[in-house]
């Protein structure tokens, strides 16, 4: 056994594993947030895409209030889903290109924790802004106050699942040619339940029924996705970088 091997376990043992995991999570979160704050245009572009793609629907189907009220929640949901699909390739791509992703893998820190930190950062800079501008879009689609509120809640509960599931697709397609298209092809079928429960919640309320069942299922999917996706995405990253 070399001297390096005998030294490392001692250093590792001096720090409890849970603290290590949390510090890896916090480090990845801080780092990605800092990077995002220095490249604000990415977030801005995403929000613009979200708003523009929502705007296309009234232009395509006509400005009748009743129609727009009817399709509004679904339109906002699909637009948010597409916007997040656009954000997914960036999740690991920059880190892959400048080599920092391999450094993270080699660091010996918990890779799922790093992925989870990156996911939270991505949600804060990509998904949360979409939820923030949602009232504006809801107003332009003639949705009333309670529908708007419910739409925001469903987006808050649903977007983490989309990013978590999407991170698996992003990890598996890392560095491939046409990765963005591949991510779309891989992830869209897996997004179906989130879309159904999310847009369905608002529709239930519009029909005079309780949206709680939809929201509970949305939260259940979110918990399942958040609990498992970082591990699967980490496995995917190892597969892609081996």
């Amino acid at each position: 056994m070399s001297s390096a091997d005998s030294v490392r376990p001692a250093v590792e043992a001096s720090r409890p594993a849970t603290t290590d995991t949390f510090s890896a999570f916090g480090w990845a979160l801080r780092r990605d947030l800092t990077l995002a704050l220095r490249r604000k245009s990415a977030t801005l572009n995403l929000v613009s895409f979200f708003v523009l793609s929502c705007m296309m629907f009234p232009l395509a189907i006509g400005p009748q209030q009743a129609w727009l009220q009817r399709v509004g929640p679904g339109v906002v949901w699909v637009a948010a889903l597409l916007a997040l699909l656009l954000a997914l390739p960036r999740l690991f791509e920059h880190d892959h290109q400048d080599g920092s992703l391999e450094q993270m893998l080699a660091s010996g820190r918990s890779l799922p924790a790093l992925v989870a930190g990156k996911l939270l950062a991505a949600w804060l800079v990509s998904a949360l802004p979409l939820v923030v501008v949602t009232p504006l879009l809801a107003m332009s689609l003639y949705l009333d106050g309670s529908s708007t509120l419910l739409l925001m809640v469903s987006l808050l509960l649903g977007t983490p699942s989309l990013l978590a599931i999407g991170s698996i697709g992003a990890a598996l397609t890392l560095g491939l040619r046409g990765a963005a298209t591949l991510i779309t092809l891989i992830c869209l079928p897996l997004f179906v339940p989130v879309l159904i429960f999310g847009a369905g919640a608002v529709e239930m309320q519009a029909a005079g029924l309780s949206p709680l069942a939809h929201l509970a299922l949305l939260a259940a999917v979110m918990l399942l996705a958040l609990a498992s996706a970082p591990f699967v995405a980490a496995l995917g990253l190892r597969t892609s970088l081996e």
């Binding site: 598996l172 092809l185 891989i186 079928p189 897996l190 159904i196 429960f197 496995l235 081996e242």
Partner: protein, 256 residues
């Protein structure tokens, strides 16, 4: 007999070659018998007329579309757990057949739907989830074919299949729920009548035919994949060095 012996591509290749004709023949025979029962022996349905006969192809293919994905998931587990090559090759060999089965199920469903429901496509829960299943197959194939490094392709594909198989029940449940909210139980693919025994027999035989067909296709495809991937090895070089059709080729296969 030690089955683990056949876990290596080199030993599995001739075994697959020996099994292939049997499954292919069984598929043809069963299909002939099944179609004969379905089109000649089985009576005309008093509600749907002759149109119902499409279920002899539709139902087996829909079953196989789901089953093949489950089998792929089984091989995906083996791929990830054992880091073995052959299970990954089997996963890849099964995928086009599974996609074909899903496509046939959708196609025949549409042909059945037009005269029966008056529309080729309805957002029925089963049809919608079969369509999503088809896209899961296509996504897997797209991912695997986009990755040049075979080891990475195998493992990435396995991860995707496993994520998909966890999602299939959730997708099915969500689509079914969504469907019942949007339209009442106006259409139901079961047709509402209990099936005559002879119809059930025909469908059973056709299902066995579909099984044999899928196995034969997968075996044939996995042989091609083995040759393609193991092309650098001695035994493949020796095998392909033989002129086609020569008795030496078979002998070489048997010797391996």
């Amino acid at each position: 007999m030690n089955f683990y012996r056949y876990a290596s591509p080199q030993t599995f290749y001739p075994l697959a070659g020996r099994m292939l004709p049997w499954f292919a023949m069984a598929a043809v025979l069963l299909a002939v018998v099944g179609l004969a029962i379905g089109f000649v022996v089985a009576p005309t349905d008093f509600q749907q007329g002759e149109v119902y006969r499409i279920i002899f192809i539709h139902v087996p293919s829909a079953w196989m579309a789901m089953l093949v994905y489950l089998v792929m998931a089984g091989y995906a587990v083996l791929t990830l757990a054992l880091r073995a090559r052959l299970p990954a090759m089997m996963t890849l060999a099964l995928a086009p057949t599974g996609a074909l089965m899903a496509a046939i199920a959708l196609w025949t469903g549409a042909l059945w739907g037009k005269p029966t429901w008056g529309t080729y496509w309805a957002w029925d829960a089963r049809m919608t989830s079969t369509l999503i299943l088809l896209f899961l197959y296509l996504g897997y194939l797209a991912l695997v074919s986009a990755i040049e490094d075979t080891q990475r392709a195998d493992r990435a594909g396995a991860v995707l299949v496993l994520v998909g198989v966890i999602n299939v029940p959730i997708i099915y449940f969500s689509v079914q729920w969504w469907n019942t909210l949007h339209q009442g139980a106006s259409v139901s693919p079961t047709g509402g009548s209990s099936m005559a025994t002879v119809m059930l027999q025909g469908m059973l035989v056709m299902t066995l035919a579909a099984w044999c067909y899928c196995i034969a296709c997968a075996l044939h495809r996995v042989r091609s994949i083995i040759l393609e991937r193991e092309g650098h090895s001695h035994w493949v070089r020796r095998l392909v060095a033989q002129p086609a059709g020569s008795p030496l080729l078979e002998e070489a296969e048997n010797r391996i």
